[in-house]
Amino acid sequence: MPDALLEVTNLTKIFPGIRALDDVKLSLRSGEVHALIGENGAGKSTLVKILTGVYIPTGGKILLEGKEISFKNAIDAQQAGIVAIHQEASMFPELSVTENIFMGHHLRNPKTKKLDWKAMTEQTKALLGRMQLDIDPDTLVKNLSVAKRHMVEITKALSLDAKLVIMDEPTSALTGREVEDLFRIVRSLKESGKAILFISHKFDEIFTICDYYTVFRDGQYIGEGKVKESTEDQIINMMIGRSIDQLYPEHTPVLGKEILKVEKLSQLGAFKHISFTLHEGEILGLFGLVGAGRSEVVRTIFGIDKASEGTMYLEGKAFMPKGARQSMHKGIALVPEDRQKQGLVLKMSLTHNISLPVLKLLSFKGMVTRSKAEKTYVLEHGNQMEIKSAGYHVDAETLSGGNQQKVVLAKWIGTKPKILILDEPTKGIDVATKAAVHQFICDMAAKGVAVILISSELPEVMGMSDRILVMHEGYQTAILDAQKCTAETVMRYAIATVAQEAAHA
């Protein structure tokens, strides 16, 4: 490859106990969108962190425009022309949008070295304009919705004049229009001759936007190719060594009795008048654009937040949990959306994480822990999820994103819930695991568990649910029968073109 912009060879990165990258290679050309593909824990994010100077590699060579480079920190990488949008949010919530964009490379008056806020605000306005984002540069980031935060992060990467832009799962917090916006930006970057390294678990995105791909598996280089000349099956085969059935599992709902009834549930500033019923064995999809307030609805049902209005009936009895503990006792489980902050205690071992919700059951009189019972329990449920780790004694923080998600799932299966609420359970999960999760959801439903499934991926919601509750800006716009509606209908309710009246009725 003559005109390679970036050439990575023999790259190795070792963490205590694990070889995250083992002798991998990668080559990138300018004006190309290059997909980096691999299952969870394959080492993609690790490579990104090396390229951006966050980690120092154990061995190997990185050539940028033919010159060997080694970064000591992120600034080195930026100055060399590499910027990244990281998988984990990296914003400063207490600072303004302008400042978030310019942190690390504030503009200064060349003579006095004084920071030039005026110029920075101007540039931010221009950048946001280019992204067609309606955000005041002076707003504090903590006051933005998650999607907007993500768009700001992308804007930030663009504010740097980069040769290579790395996007590590940039769409996992975006939906619909924003993904479109992002692709528009990617295309314009490509046209201006930049290289883009694009990491995603979503094949439709890869096939839409990428030109070339490289596949890693277990920290090793497997192969590469042109996207146009490959099929999804081929790539999946490279990724996991076998092909998988990507169709959603067959699920014929056997509805039991009504288990949950929600009436006019509201929370000030978050959502209003949500009403639905849920039956045993049913899968209720909850769809909406990011920021529609779905997470808040399920948080309230689970008792994390307080409702400001409305009633709930659990198996016919009025029910308003004061905390997660209460709802757990009543048989509700919630797999939260943010696995790092809400799902896991990162600095605790997998064992202790998985047993945390059921500690009481694994103890003597609910007070004194029994480590043998705990171990047995953890093995039983952990192995079911095929977690890839150095053992159950390692801290959860050392796992890759996808594997962390599996730990969260394992943690909640054991609570034997009657109602299982899943908030974005497949976010950042590779195809193989995703299929497993889908199968698992259906199995649960088949056992009579009532499931509420939040997902920002429309096909997933369509494919998995029996009914779909659609939300827009905190309002419930429709409850649709999944068998009888089309993706377009759902989307229309989600962006509320047909639903304005309904919302305000």
Binding site: I14, P16, L334, K341, L356, L359, S363, G391, H393, K411
Partner: protein
Amino acid sequence: MADRQDLVAKSRLIDEMSVKNRLIEFFTKWEVILVIIFTLMVLFFSGRTPYFLDWFNLMNATFQFSEKAIMALPMIFIIMCGDIDISIASIIALCAYAVGTAAQAGASIPSLLFISLLVGTLAGLFNGVMITGLNMPAIAVTLATQSMYRGISIGLLGDQARTSFPDGFGIFGQEFIPNTIIPYEFVLYLALMLLFAFILHKTTYGRRLYAIGNSAEAARFSGVNVKLTRIINFTVTGFFCGLTAMLLASRILSVRSNIATGWDLEIITLVVLGGVAITGGKGTVFGVFVGSLLVGYLKFGMGLLKFSGTLMTIVIGSLLITAVLLPRLLDLYKANRKLRLQAQH
């Protein structure tokens, strides 16, 4: 069930895999380092003064640190959850005031104990409710209540002292178990230490403390009642302030408003020196036990050698820093070595 057996076998395998790891970990563990430092200290002082290794003196010296060591126990819980309480010395003063005043009015010993525990518990509860109820940082709230509680005892007591106590009141803080050289206070401390060790390491409550300390939000999503737990911690600490106030009043038989001044930081030092992470989520009761003995006997030994108080503060300050720095340096060394070994593969 056949696979249940299989699972148990597997779990044993996991254990064995980590045995080697654990051995390596062992000698770089905080507690072990503390024990080594402690031993060195004992050797040093025994060599320098004939009065150190004397059973009566060693036991008698426990009077000087038992109360602080007792307070360090509930403080472990607070720090374990990532909180801090810098009002404890003031709560002790407040309880001591109540004890002294009630004693002057002729209250019996059991009712004095009750009053002291009640006042302490209420003060601790107030801290806990303010912190969790309004979601304010513990250090800021207890900074304010530090002045408030101390202020109440100053306001009520002014320049007066309470010095009349019922007969036999001195038992808790001054006396030895009959026919032995073991102070009641120290026995009480040992018993409480074991109790706290059991709660922290063997009960679900203890496990939840670790979870909260590492990630309060994740704990909340896992059904841990974080607010309640934190309130309980502060309340329990208040309760123990009441107990400590009784012991202290009994030991010195005089209550003034400036009693126990400066204990907050000393007690926090014991906890931190004992290896409890100030950010929460890490530490053991055993570590704090060794840390408390270490500081207690270090002060005693230095006193015997007529070190000035000044030099003692320097030594204890340096010890705190070294004790935290040392395992880190060892960790660094270990990690580097491991990396090198792996790279050679």
